[in-house]
Amino acid sequence: MLTAFWANAQCDVTEYINKCAERLKPQGYKYLKSYKLDFLNGSKKQIMYSYVFSNNTMYRITLANSDKDNRGLFVTLLDSEKKPLASSYIEKEKKYMPAIDIKCTRTGIYYLAYSVNEGKDFCGSSVIGFKR
């Protein structure tokens, strides 16, 4: 019971989801879906979700953790064959973007692979928004 409580208390993402949702506002993206990213203190290396994106629609995938620049946390967008299409981590500059924008040109299932590259912040969240 105590262990379960401790595990839950460690990754409360309410605040991060609100932060992610705020990042949708500036360009008029509407909220679609949120994900809790609990890497279980680092024992989980990657968290994968999938979503059906639609043709002719713009999507924004936002990220947040306890760091104001969400350092360490990034997402890679993969197509239905799991071929990488975009990433929020710019390796050259070692920069973690708070969001990525994509324009979908083919309706289908896409994968969102979340990872923590550095640091010890293994709890975060991600929100997808859309606009046409």
Binding site: S34, Y49, Y51
Partner: protein, 280 residues
């Protein structure tokens, strides 16, 4: 004579009570059976999570410029009819989409009614704790911040999905998703009848991806209970109506929607029939 009347009315009362008791016992049996079904239901939570949110369809419907029409929506007072968990789950999906439709059109009075209907369904399904209804109601009444409203409702729906997954209530979550999807496609097909928009037709045709996944889930559970057999058969009709419909999207070429007038009419009719059965 008076005694006979009293005796008769007593016996009628007794029979009525007895019928009532029987009905209650039957209902309890059904409830127990539904509880058992919850455990047996095989749900693919990854697939359910991947389903596109119906708000995308409703947003596109709104963009056609076709006037707001609340006669298309399920009546809020129909909540009284939904007593079983599966009916509540299906119509919870329906009402959330109707709520989204009223909100996107900024129809505050109607939105409040659909919010109440949604709340009733969440109470019945014991998932109301995931929603901040006071906050949603206050944003709706102010009618200023549509994005805030969509976000707050969306966060509640996500928490509910997670909660149902944690409680292993796969049937409830599957039916909520299916009901919401059906209502959104119903609104899209109804509006597409009036507005010949390529984007809307493409969106409708794209739904083949969703029905393909839903039907797999219903097929895997069709023998679990009588109502799931019926739901499978109804959604199978929709799946069949999609047979000739396709979207061709080749690199460098314009997207081609393969959907003849007959295909559309058949789909439109099937969607309408199944949806009307679900809300009845």
């Amino acid at each position: 004579m008076k005694k006979i009347i009293v005796a008769l009315s007593l016996s009628v009362f007794w029979v009525a009570c007895n019928d009532n008791n029987n009905a209650n016992q039957e209902q309890k049996k059904d409830e127990v059976k539904e509880q058992e079904v919850k455990k047996d239901f095989k749900a693919d939570f990854d697939i359910l999570n991947a389903m596109p949110d119906p708000i995308e369809i409703v947003d596109l419907v709104k963009s056609t410029g076709i006037d707001y029409d609340n006669s298309l929506l399920n009546k809020p007072e129909n909540t009284e009819k939904y007593n079983s968990e599966h009916k509540m789950a299906l119509n919870m999906g329906v009402y959330t989409v109707d709520l989204g439709y009223t909100n996107l059109h900024n129809k505050t009075q109607d939105a409040i009614k659909y919010l109440d209907a949604t709340k009733k369904m969440t109470n019945g399904l014991k998932v109301s704790q995931f929603f901040d209804f006071e906050k949603i109601k206050s944003i709706t009444q102010e009618g200023k911040d549509l994005n805030q409203l969509i976000t707050t409702t969306g966060i509640g729906l996500d928490k509910m999905r997670q909660g149902l997954e944690d409680e292993k209530r796969g049937e409830a979550i599957t039916l909520i998703v299916a009901g919401g999807w059906l209502e959104a496609v119903y609104l899209a097909t109804q509006v597409a009848e009036k507005a010949d928009r390529k984007e809307l037709k493409e969106k409708i045709a794209d739904q083949k991806i969703v029905i393909t996944e839903l039907i797999k889930m219903f097929e895997a559970n069709k023998t679990t209970s009588k109502h799931l057999t019926e739901i499978y058969e109804d959604f199978k009709k929709i799946n069949d109506a999609f047979t000739n419909i396709a979207v061709k999207n080749e690199e460098g070429k314009e997207v081609q929607v393969q959907m003849s007038k007959e295909d559309f009419n058949k789909l439109n009719q099937t969607i309408k029939e199944v949806r009307n059965k679900i809300i009845s």
